[in-house]
């Protein structure tokens, strides 16, 4: 009986745990990968402060280890941003598409994190 009560308490308390605040960034645009672009870059800002940067490349390398999947029909990807321990409730997301080092497209949006939920942040890449 005591064990049952303890397990119930565990389940109750365990159920109260919430996920971190997150944002699901949906990236779309009329860009064929790799015909129109071969590299996607993301910069996240908290006000004027750049807090993170990441690249995805069709051809991975040591400087760009993350792969950008081929999408001949057009760009349609998602990235999950998680507000972990940092205190960044409001961020700005800048995306850039390059083709052989030349900027070919851009997109931007802001995200307001909410505790325990995942907010959707659509970004349409434009030339």
């Amino acid at each position: 009986m005591k064990i049952l009560a303890a397990l119930s308490l565990c389940a109750l308390l365990g159920g109260c745990k919430q996920q971190d605040a997150a944002a699901l960034v949906t990236i779309t645009g009329a860009f064929r990968i790799p015909a129109d672009a071969d590299m996607l870059s993301m910069d996240v800002y908290d006000g004027p402060l750049a807090i993170t940067h990441k690249d995805w490349c069709v051809t991975t390398s040591a400087s760009c280890p993350e792969a950008l999947p081929l999408q001949p029909g057009g760009l349609d990807q998602t990235i999950t941003l998680v507000e972990g321990g940092g205190d960044h409730p409001h961020v700005k997301i800048n995306l850039a598409l390059q083709k052989t080092g030349v900027l070919v497209g851009q997109g931007t949006n802001t995200a307001d994190f909410q505790s325990g939920t995942t907010v959707n942040v659509p970004i349409v890449m434009t030339r």
């Binding site: 993170t52 993350e66 999950t80 941003l81 961020v91």
Partner: protein, 314 residues
């Protein structure tokens, strides 16, 4: 000459009980010493050799020594009866032998000392056991002080009607004649068995500490006559009340609830680590700790990763 001395000694016991030593305060007897010859063994040998008069001399000397154990007192009685019955038969010799055997039964209710006696003494002992009233009690020399004492006695032999047993006791003080308190003994379930309780601080019973308690048990007939007395006012049973003597710690025979043959050994105290006052909080802390640990160990729900993966903000 020896025979004359023996005959003189054989007359004496009618006025003086044969085995128990007199009280040291009133008449200090000589204590035994290591250098002293074993006159009891010598008397035994003399009886075996048929030298009964010489044996009586040794037995008389031994009986006056201080510190004879009940077993020695019983053997003295048995040997004395053996020697007296082997002398030329006279009514006095037979009466003295009977008295010696009664005294033997008083300190040795089972008569084990008769193993050293002659056949004539054994025969007389059997006759006494079946023909006269005997007050028998297990004499214990030491008991715990400050606890209720149960004195038990039983009647053996022939008796007419319902005798009344009385316990006469006194907490003896040095150099003072004991003043006895007499209380009736109650009959218990066992056949012909009686008991009386002495409670600390009641009726002159010491409340604690080191004391000498003297007592004797009388059986009175319906007409008030004394049928038998185990111990007497002049020569009582001596019981040391002590809370320090090692023997006292192990004796529960006279304590409330105790039985003579089975000393009560109190159960060991519960170890501190088995007490609920300790176990309860410890188990409580362990349970709470386990619950907190399980809660902390629960995985936090994670948001679903995108097709390009997940990026944790610093």
């Amino acid at each position: 000459m020896t025979l004359l001395l023996a005959l003189l000694l054989a007359q004496a016991p009618t006025a003086q009980p044969p085995q128990p030593a007199p009280q040291p305060a009133a008449q200090p007897p000589a204590p035994k010493s290591a250098a002293e010859p074993d006159r009891l063994a010598n008397a035994r040998s003399l009886i075996a050799a048929g030298k009964y008069a010489d044996a009586l001399v040794d037995l008389q000397a031994v009986s006056q020594m201080y510190g004879n154990t009940p077993r020695e007192q019983a053997e003295i009685g048995a040997l004395r009866a053996s020697a007296l019955l082997a002398l030329p038969e006279t009514p006095e010799h037979k009466q003295d032998a009977a008295d010696a055997l009664v005294g033997m039964y008083h300190v040795d209710p089972e008569g084990t000392a008769l193993a050293h006696a002659t056949d004539a003494a054994k025969q007389l002992a059997q006759q006494i056991r079946s023909s006269r009233t005997l007050v028998l009690t297990d004499r214990i020399v030491t008991a715990r002080s400050g606890r209720p004492l149960r004195i038990r006695a039983r009647l053996a032999g022939a008796h007419v009607g319902e005798p009344q047993l009385s316990l006469n006791y006194s907490a003896q003080h040095q150099n003072e004649e004991p003043e006895y308190v007499s209380i009736p003994m109650d009959r218990v379930a066992a056949a012909d068995t009686y008991e009386a309780w002495l409670r600390p601080g009641v009726g002159g019973v010491p409340g604690g500490g080191e004391h000498l308690l003297v007592y004797y048990i009388e059986a009175l007939g319906p007409d008030g006559s004394v049928l038998d007395s185990n111990g007497t006012a002049k020569d009582p049973i001596r019981l040391t009340l002590s809370d320090t003597l090692p023997e006292a710690a192990g004796i529960a025979a006279l304590d409330e609830g105790g039985r003579p043959a089975h000393p009560v050994i109190p159960p060991p105290p519960t170890p501190w680590y088995k007490r609920w006052g300790i176990i309860g909080p410890v188990v409580g802390v362990l349970v709470v700790g386990a619950v907190v640990g399980i809660v902390v160990a629960q995985p936090q729900p994670q948001p679903k990763n995108g097709t390009l993966g997940r990026l944790d903000l610093p």
